[in-house]
């Protein structure tokens, strides 16, 4: 038997114009075998997402879009070293987060800022991490967008791809032992799913029956690599069956489909301790990162097709059809969010960098004698050349004036060196 006949349908609920698919359309049927929507009465008569939740999701999507646009611009202006946008994938990450309980663990890859925003991470908290200032929970150690929050149950992001997937399996195993009815969701791209850690994680999750949801954002590209060079089979979803795991493929630009699928997956995970794989089909509308230019590997025409499927616009159409949102609210909210982001960025930029002592804290629970000595060596060195290490010197209490004195002394020394050079012909060092 070959897998050619296995082509998993896409669970869809919402058309781009904001109307719902009729409940009996074939593509409206997902294949989560338990708890799916097929037995529900016509969903057009009831609200798939209740009003307050829907509006919170939508505002979070708008905030994420505004944040992304503003921060990419800040990176282009040289105010920020690096950035990654969530653009086009807001429905996937926010719709899924909205279907979880607040104390479920989220272990994400890096393009899931929307899920963190959903949980209430403030604009200032985002900014503090990106600018690595003294209020960054991560103490300025990681690149921008590597967020984490213990209070919001959002595991700190790390750059190595897919490493969080088996960690999510282990985390969920601990939740199962604790028996408090919580689960873990881990979110990753279709490229990361090629890592060995993906295989290890899903297999172990099935064998050890853990309450974990594996959510793959299949956005068509891993940097420049299109998905046809990532895998030969029908995407990520069917891999679950080889692990004896349930699976569903959803339209990742359809917030209702993502929300309902995650809700059903959570119920299965928590009630039966069975892991679930969700593959959300979407498109990375933005560049991979601020260091990437997609024009080298894909066409504007292709991007335009997907821009027409914008998940935010789709949800807005639905909200307006419900009478829950208007042109005026759209404009007022957009203006207010842009103002909030800009003001927050200005505040974060002005804050001091982390204290010099944070160089050696948290390597271990307490610094070793060797680390303490290395910090002392660095401090002694900074005392000699404070102007060369303005952040550390400020942390040690050097004033701007003292830095200037140091800078001038060093410049004078360099000038003496240059004027001496012709004397020995630059041959000796």
């Amino acid at each position: 038997m070959t897998g050619d006949e296995l082509c998993i349908p896409i669970f869809k609920r919402l058309r781009q114009d904001g109307t719902l698919y009729p409940d009996d359309t074939p593509q409206g049927q997902g294949n989560v075998s338990q708890g799916d929507k097929s037995q529900d009465a016509s969903p057009i008569q009831r609200d798939p997402i209740e009003r307050d939740t829907a509006l919170k999701i939508y505002r979070t999507m708008l905030f994420t879009r505004v944040l992304d646009e503003r921060m990419l611009a800040a990176q282009r202006q040289g105010r920020l070293s690096f950035y990654m946008q969530c653009t086009g994938e807001e429905a996937t990450v926010i719709g899924s987060a909205a279907a979880l309980q607040d104390d479920d663990m989220i272990m994400a890859q890096y393009r899931e800022q929307g899920a963190l925003a959903w949980r209430g991470f403030s604009c200032d908290e985002f900014m503090n991490q990106m600018f690595g200032n003294e209020r960054d929970y991560g103490k300025g150690r990681q690149m921008p967008i590597h967020y984490g929050s213990r209070d919001l149950h959002y595991m700190t992001i790390s750059s190595p791809l897919a490493t969080q997937i088996p960690q999510a399996t282990g985390y969920a195993y601990g939740q199962k032992l604790a028996g408090k009815g919580q689960c873990t969701i881990t979110i990753f791209g279709e490229g990361a799913a090629s890592e060995g850690d993906f295989h290890a994680a899903l297999n172990m999750a099935s064998v050890h029956r853990v309450p974990c949801i594996f959510l793959c954002r299949n956005n068509g590209y891993a940097i420049s690599t299109p998905s046809c060079e990532q895998f030969a089979a029908d995407g990520i979803a069917p891999r679950a069956f080889g692990y004896h795991m349930q699976s569903i493929r959803v339209d990742g630009n359809d917030v209702i489909a993502v929300y309902e699928a995650t809700l059903a997956a959570r119920k299965i995970a928590v009630e039966t301790n069975q892991p679930i794989l969700i593959e959300a089909m979407t498109y990375r509308l933005a560049a991979h990162s601020s260091s990437d230019d997609p024009s080298g590997y894909r066409s504007k025409k292709e991007e335009a097709i997907w821009r027409d499927k914008d998940p935010i616009l789709r949800m807005r159409n639905w909200l307006e059809a419900q009478g829950w949102w208007s042109e005026e609210e759209e404009k007022a909210t957009g203006d207010q969010l842009r103002r909030e982001v800009l003001e927050s960025m200005k505040r974060a930029e002005k804050l001091a960098p982390p204290a010099l002592d944070t160089l050696i804290s948290d390597v271990y629970d307490t610094p070793t004698p060797l680390l303490t000595q290395q910090l002392e060596d660095v401090k002694q060195h900074i005392r000699k050349y404070p102007h060369a290490y303005p952040k550390g010197a400020a942390s040690m209490g050097f004033t701007a004036q003292e830095l200037e004195v140091s800078r001038k002394a060093y410049q004078a020394r360099q000038q003496r060196m240059q004027s001496h050079q012709p004397v020995d012909g630059g041959q000796t060092s």
Binding site: Y137, G138, M155, Y173, Q175
Partner: protein, 322 residues
């Protein structure tokens, strides 16, 4: 007790004392591990706390990292240290950096990784390696290597309870060969602290794990020549006890370091460089490193490859005659 019994006893005590201690790895469940270090523990504590995993080292340590981050105390077993490399990424990029990168929001301090290491058992390339130096270059990790049953129990209990991820490397050649008095009670030996096994005047001999037995034999040979050796078991590779080692060399003026792992990039290099920096004026002879050759670990010529007591004895004499 032999070393395996001491380790089994330590795991039993740790599991009884803390319900969040969870053991897993390949074949550690009902079978009790290929070396039987986890014998009877599944019977006693149930399948949820002592279980087999699929055969995937990166999965085992990834799982362990997640479980530790959740607040449990995982004790993961890698069947042979030779097979720890698939988990290198999860150990070096994840476990070791978990606390630092999150600003202490999250940590995997509960994690202990147990793994049998070392040669001398006709294990060839992939059942003999001593990979401690690969991990010694990894801030955030602790590395511990016991030399006998008493040390194994006390250090393992300390490792499991230490609030940092610990790589606990067990000298499998001594699993059954090393037998000694081990208290039944719960006790811990400190991590990061070397053990001066024997005081001496003329030269400092330094090693860890199974190599201590070899070093002690070399010291006995040298003693017949009237050479009074000071013998130190480093016990912890990371962080290592610089003070104890340097104090000894300041006294003796000579140092021989011996390990099974290859010379180039081996941990003896780190020790030699540090001692040279700190004890420069007191050194009477170059620091000698007696180690495995810079080759993969051979099968038939294992004895020739390994730094045995005769090779160490020769290094001692050369240092004294320098």
């Amino acid at each position: 007790m032999n070393m395996l019994q001491a380790i089994n006893n330590a795991l039993d005590i740790a599991m009884a004392a803390n319900p969040r201690v969870v053991l897993f790895g390949e074949d550690v469940g009902v079978f009790g591990g290929v070396f039987r270090a986890t014998s009877h523990l599944q019977d006693k504590y149930g399948r949820e706390r002592c279980f087999n995993t699929p055969l995937t080292e990166q999965g085992i340590i990834g799982f362990a990292n997640g479980l530790a981050a959740q607040g449990s105390t995982p004790v993961a077993e890698i069947q042979f240290a030779d097979y720890i490399f698939p988990a290198f990424d999860q150990i070096v990029n994840e476990a070791a950096k978990f606390r630092y990168r999150s600003g202490d929001l999250f940590d995997v301090g509960g994690l202990t990784i147990r793994t049998p290491y070392g040669g001398g058992i006709a294990g060839g390339l992939y059942h003999s390696q001593s990979p401690e130096a690969y991990f010694a270059h990894t801030p955030g990790l602790k590395i511990v290597m016991p030399r006998n049953p008493h040390q194994a129990k006390g250090l393992l209990l300390a490792a499991i309870r230490d609030p940092n991820p610990v790589l606990f490397m067990e000298p499998k050649r001594l699993y059954r060969a090393s037998v000694g008095e081990v208290p039944e009670a719960d006790y811990e030996l400190p991590l990061g602290v070397a053990d001066v096994i024997r005081e001496g005047r003329d030269i400092t001999l330094l090693g860890w794990g199974a190599q201590m037995e070899v070093i002690e034999k070399a010291a006995a040979l040298a003693e017949q020549d009237g050479i009074d050796c000071e013998i130190i078991d480093l016990r912890s590779i990371l962080p290592w006890d610089i003070e104890t080692v340097c104090n000894s060399v300041l006294k003796t003026g000579r140092l021989v370091v011996s390990h099974e792992a290859p010379l180039t990039g081996g941990f003896a290099s780190e020790i030699a460089a540090t001692v040279q920096e700190r004890c420069f004026l007191y050194l009477e002879a170059p620091i000698r490193r007696v180690t495995g050759l810079d080759t993969p670990f051979p099968l038939v010529l294992e004895k020739e490859h390994l730094p045995d007591e005769l090779k160490i004895y020769e290094a001692i004499k050369q240092s004294l005659n320098y």
